[in-house]
């Protein structure tokens, strides 16, 4: 059980409220594939992801970015039980997709940077702290069923 202060809950829910999943999802995933090119290894079936230009124009990447952020919404809506909310997804990423769990942290970092670029100064240190705590819990839950 994670302890969320009243402020942290407020920051996370309000920040989520500002996110347009259809915009932020693609931006975050594209950024991850460009900044950490080794993550491209998981997208062999997505067509051309070999250059920044290809990644920026790739429709499958954009669609998948939306899928990932929609998944994140489940954590926002179940902040008091993220661990169990993500149990199945964790098994999926481990047993079927074979994704190194460190990649969740990389995508989380890119998402944080996209948020910062969208919100500017409004992405205050306190809001960032709450958001990063939330992402740490999400990343941990996603890695939990790996064995």
């Amino acid at each position: 059980m994670v302890d969320w202060t009243f402020e942290e809950r407020k920051h996370i829910i309000e920040t989520w409220g500002k996110i347009n999943v259809k915009v932020v999802g693609p931006l975050a995933l594209r950024r991850c594939l460009i900044v950490y090119p080794w993550t491209q290894r998981y997208f062999g079936t997505f067509g051309d992801v070999n250059s920044a230009a290809a990644i920026m124009g790739n429709k499958k990447v954009a669609k998948h970015g939306i899928t990932v952020l929609n998944g994140l919404e489940r954590a926002v809506q179940n902040m008091d039980d993220i661990k169990n909310t993500y149990a199945e997804l964790s098994v999926l990423h481990s047993e079927k997709l074979h994704v190194d769990p460190d990649n969740f942290r990389l995508l989380g970092d890119c998402l944080t940077i996209v948020l910062a670029s969208q919100m500017g100064r409004a992405f205050t240190p306190d809001i960032q702290a709450a958001w990063q705590k939330f992402l740490t819990v999400v990343v941990s839950a996603l890695g939990r069923q790996y064995h």
Partner: protein
Amino acid sequence: MLTKHEKELIAQIWDKMIPVACDIGSESLLRYYYRMMTTFPGTKTYFAHLDIRPRSPHLLSHGKKIVLAIAECSKDISSIMVTLAPLQTLHAYQLRIDPCNFKLLSHCILVTLAAHMPDEFTPVAHAAMDKYLSAFAAVLAEKYR
């Protein structure tokens, strides 16, 4: 390895940041330091001897030192080992900051750059900057052992 284009992007970004860093009144850039201490409270342990409240002059002048060092090296990245030699010694023998914290600081610098100049901080610029800050951190930690 940093490509020529990446080095140019990095130098361009820091060129824009130097005048902002020098203007202590313009704290939005220097807030990266406060951002790091708020997001990663373990980093505060190194500042027990300073006043690290959000607008403290200590925090701003300390943050400015770091930004200026990073910006200075960005002008000639191939000479980074020479330029950073005194800081290597300082960090290894005096400050002894656990190098894992360099990553946390780098992340907060990236967040601050994204918030400050979202249009310029494209994924390609972000990649170049991340590579540069990782190299900077690695060189800084070289004399530790």
